[in-house]
Symmetry: C2
């Protein structure tokens, strides 16, 4: 039997910063529990305006996202801030770690009760990240996090979703990984608020930073008052450059507030969430439609489409009629 | 002014194998033209049951997807078959080539009128691949393709979508790229019908194949009559192993037919397409709702959610009420 879920007790626990309550709430969200609407309503009532600052980190496998995340956790902890970490990167040692057991770096923070670390699996769930991330953010916010770091791999569509979710998006590169051109090809040069060339003690770091600067300025007309993404060189494993990275993150945060762009991003984030919830509900309804004989209407229509007897648009019409 | 679109003429052109008509139809689909429903209906009327065999190729950047695709094109052409290629890989030289100009390998086939090559950009469009791919397949099918190869990068969600779209999915690995364990972490060991360890002339190819075999057999109870994914070693750049790869593809195709699994996959593919179309329509409707003052209802609700005045589930209710 599944444990009974006492939503009020869990939300109360999260407010007190109880790590087990936080973990259980995020698990319920990740698993798509039927109690999620109730949980979300309780969290909104408990929290009001979201307070935590959300920083997304993205980049190709191997650029050092986890090490940088860990270094940022240390930096924000040194200020006495509470930090949440959501790893939604399928190649991250946090999420993929079960296979290799290399959660080593994050172990530094495992016993610090001012840090909540959580991996989320979204593999195979199209739009799963868009759906679950804002909900998980809300849990960490209620738990009193001042800063939430979201780590995701920069290939495919997840990095676009993360940019839509974060207040500040950090794009990480490393020299000798195919460099800035690879990043441009992967489409991640459009989403960064701050760029970090990590592993900057390796050959080619200056060249990568230069290339990146050229690509960022090329063809992007910048108006006055617009944010110009800075490039920071870091060696996250030794902490080199992390202070400067944090300073640039703070500068972006100030710009978000002063320009009003931060408020607009938050409204945009809420709009995406509301839309995703409405779409998910519609999808569930569409799958539950039954024919007179009790069979799935979607499957009946799909069989007709597969044989060419019906076109898919007419089938979509009939599905929702 | 945009060129007027004569759908009937374009579909007629595609039936005659006219490459320009094929390219124009796929462009209209890629751009989400309002004429797409009409185009799809005309294609279904022209084609009836889809005839072309669809083979998906996926794997991490650098494993040699494009080279393998090119070698497979040559192999099927040698049989006198018409071949279509859809590259939906953002790191592919076919799609990303505009940046680097390295479409070299595919140049071999550029002047062969029995080959249609087409790249599709889906970057930033969540579900864009699910939506556009079946439509593009239909165009290539009407154009008389016997085989359609879809190439996509194996990170994120696109490879799961491709597996849902293809009759046969080929997962490519290369030795020394992080190997089979990386593939397992990226979740691509669940979707392959055939595995190819490419660049098999490099050190470590045998070890990669062995690791892969262990991972594939481990924990997967295989029933009689089930398909057991074979592992082929290839050096696509020299053609080594391509004959064996094609033989395994043919063997899988026969299994699909004999077991009935092929028919079920096609119905499943149609179901995904119908559902995606219905969801897209719902999404467009949800965005078009207006408040009494003509403002976007989604934005009004999102602003309330952003300030904590409303929870997102209640907002989703109100959006569609």
């Amino acid at each position: 039997l599944a444990r009974p879920v006492d939503v009020d007790a869990l939300v109360d626990g999260a407010r007190r910063g109880d790590a087990r309550s936080v973990a259980r709430l995020i698990s319920l969200i990740e698993d798509g529990s039927p109690r999620v609407p109730e949980i979300t309503k309780a969290l909104v009532t408990a929290a009001g305006v979201e307070r935590a600052r959300v920083i997304g980190l993205t980049g190709s496998p191997g650029v050092g996202k986890s090490t940088t995340t860990s270094a940022l956790v240390s930096a924000f902890r040194a200020r006495g801030q509470r930090v949440g970490v959501l790893a939604v990167d399928p190649t991250s040692p946090f999420t993929g770690g079960a296979l290799l057991g290399d959660r080593v770096r994050m172990q530094d923070h495992a016993t610090d009760d001012g840090v909540f670390i959580r991996s989320m699996a979204t593999r195979g769930h199209l739009g799963g990240l868009a759906w679950a991330t804002p909900q998980a953010l809300r849990v960490l916010d209620v738990a009193g996090c001042d800063v939430i770091l979201i780590e995701t791999v920069g290939v495919g569509q997840s990095e676009v979703e993360i940019a839509a979710t974060a207040d500040t998006t950090v794009v990480l590169l490393a020299p000798g990984m195919g460099d800035a051109i690879q990043a441009a090809k992967a489409g991640i040069l459009e989403i960064g608020d701050v760029y970090a060339v990590n592993k900057a003690d390796r050959d080619g770091a200056d060249a990568t930073a230069r290339e990146l600067r050229m690509m960022l300025t090329h063809g992007q007309p910048r108006e006055a008052g617009q944010w110009r993404p800075p490039i920071v060189k870091t060696v996250a494993s030794t902490g080199q450059g992390i202070e400067e990275l944090v300073a640039e993150l703070d500068r972006h945060q100030e710009w978000l507030t002063e320009s009003g762009a931060g408020g607009r991003r938050r409204v945009q984030r809420a709009a995406s969430e509301v839309e995703a919830l409405a779409v998910a509900r519609f999808r569930a309804q569409a799958r539950s439609f039954r024919d007179d004989d009790g069979g799935s209407r979607l499957e009946t229509l799909a069989a007709q489409v597969a044989t060419g007897a019906l076109d898919p648009y007419s089938a979509a019409d009939q599905l929702t009629a």
